[in-house]
Symmetry: C2
Subunit: 339 residues, 2 copies
């Protein structure tokens, strides 16, 4: 599942607890021998000087990050795959005065009236790049980081019955981690609010992506107690009490706990969701979170209004969503000549 997948990815990105200890604070010069010189069981076999870029897997000029696939030629001339992820680090407020006033070099680019632009060259220690290496990398790693074309699917009610639902039933998605939360077998201490009604109740819990250190990127998930509601497609007027509870009580709990009022919250479901047990996302309205795009997110208030308008709205309605080129469900739609 995506969420558990996210846990895994997070561990990967952070390198888990790490078998290794940190190196000294002072930057170490890199040269052909730089890593070899300090290679022990505490340092990776990867050699920067032997890395050759093969392909840009993904890059974002907006986020200043780039994902590279490359080869590393070993001493014996054999080549192994590596994934290298480079990301510029955020600008830190407490370093700004150093950045502007100390040893920085700068070059005036344009000056027009009260507007001027410069290229600023900060001292090394103020301008580092976070570098993540996967080595040796498998094809699975390379695929994971490769940006893929996405395609819109227009799923009619019949398409859901004939294509999507049969496909979902062939998949063995484990949502044991969801049941563990609902049964208090895991993360019980993280629960922010619970309505324990088995039909119209839910548990509100912070999403893994939120470190809870600031409200700016507030992200919580409401997981309903009732089982068998896979997604938006299963919702009818019968679920209106559940949905209204989640919207109202969820907003109240977040106001009480985080002092963020309901009119500063984005409350929505995903279709397709990343796991098929009904859950609702609560994110800070000012937070440009992943998964809020119109082709995936459905405001809970709209869902309620649509079910009030037509109890079978989500059984009949064509739902539009995006699938990545490598997703099996897309192939099902293509095979059916629907996309």
């Amino acid at each position: 599942m995506a969420d558990s997948g996210k846990r895994k990815r997070t561990e990967e990105a952070e390198g888990g607890d790490g078998d290794c200890v940190e190196q000294g604070q002072k930057p170490q010069p890199l040269d052909n021998g730089g890593l070899l010189g300090v290679r022990t069981e505490l340092t990776p076999a990867f050699s920067f000087s032997a890395f050759r870029v093969e392909k840009v897997l993904r890059e974002s000029a907006r986020e200043k990050i780039i994902f590279l696939h490359g080869k590393v030629s070993g001493d014996s001339g054999d080549e192994k795959d590596a994934v290298v992820i480079l990301e510029k680090t955020p600008l830190q407020v407490d370093r700004i005065s150093d950045l502007l006033n100390k040893k920085s070099e700068l070059k005036l680019q344009i000056c027009n009236d009260i507007y001027s632009t410069y290229t600023l060259y900060p001292p090394l220690e103020l301008n580092d790049v976070k570098t993540t290496i996967v080595y040796p990398a498998t094809e699975k790693h390379i695929q994971k980081y490769r940006s893929q074309d996405v395609y819109l699917v227009q799923e009619t009610g019949d398409d859901y019955k004939n294509i999507t639902l049969p496909f979902l039933q062939t998949q063995s998605f484990s949502i044991q981690w969801v049941y563990n939360i609902l049964e208090k077998k895991a993360e019980a201490d993280r629960i922010i609010y619970e309505n324990s009604d088995p039909t119209n109740g839910f548990i509100l819990i912070p999403d893994f992506k939120w470190d809870q250190k600031q409200r700016d990127d507030l992200y919580l998930i409401a997981i309903c107690h009732r089982r068998g509601l896979k997604s938006l497609r299963d919702l009818t007027a019968e679920q209106l009490p559940l949905l209204r509870n989640i919207l109202q009580e969820g907003q109240e709990a977040i106001l009480k706990r985080y002092s963020l009022p309901g009119n500063q919250l984005r409350v929505y479901v995903h279709y397709q969701p990343s796991y098929y047990h009904l859950h609702v996302h609560f994110t800070a309205l000012g937070f440009d979170a992943a998964g809020i795009a119109v082709e995936r997110a459905h405001l809970l208030s709209d869902v309620i209004a649509n079910l009030e308008l037509d109890p079978l709205y989500y059984q009949k309605r064509t739902l539009t969503y995006a699938l990545r080129a490598n997703e099996p469900l897309l192939k099902k739609f293509l095979d059916a000549g629907k996309c």
Copy 2:
């Protein structure tokens, strides 16, 4: 209007053509005299060494950008406001091998199995920061860059009639630039496609935000010929032919001109829109464009389906959208006790 506003902002950000010429290519050392030393009519009065940060107006760890408001004390001890914008530059593919293999310093952080992370310290010339200065800055500049709280408004059909519409009628939004396009008085050479029917026709034209250099961030706008359709709220079943034309012919024109098929396009309207003449946005599905969030964007295919379901859907329906704290319309809703 936002679009013309964007033009203005773009000019500002780029500093226009600039009254000044570029300085030499070699970075110049910055010190107290660094700028004073080269100050001429071609260089700004701003002095980095005299800049003191007062407040962070906005920052984005994701985009590695920070907007600062500060004071610059002049020789005579007087203080003037300045806005300083710092943004890390994107990682360039053709510089990667230099970044990884030449004079970069690096520090191993974590090593766990095949995963390892480093802090990389690139040489100055490979790691610059784009710096934009507004000096002296007015309160208007400072407000413009300040991040503001946003609030959700739940606008019922009656709220639209009683609050939003009367407010819009008091505003003197000039959309002359839109009429100039429709009448071929401006940008006629930029038109990609036209259906000249006065009732159900439209003009398709690239959005200003798109430089048309790559398809990744493809962004076009369809502007309907018919006047008086302000927004989503004015749409009834009567506009279905117009909306179907825009969706189908717009997709066909983009496929023909840019070889991007309809299932890789996000086609949507904004509510609230940035100007009140009906227009439809076409963006590449893979492009994380601004304004695609669920609280502002409405897929044209959904709009059509909702009007087929209920001809008066958008007259009756509560529409949810976000307003920034300083937007006058928000005050109207607050005064009416609706938010």
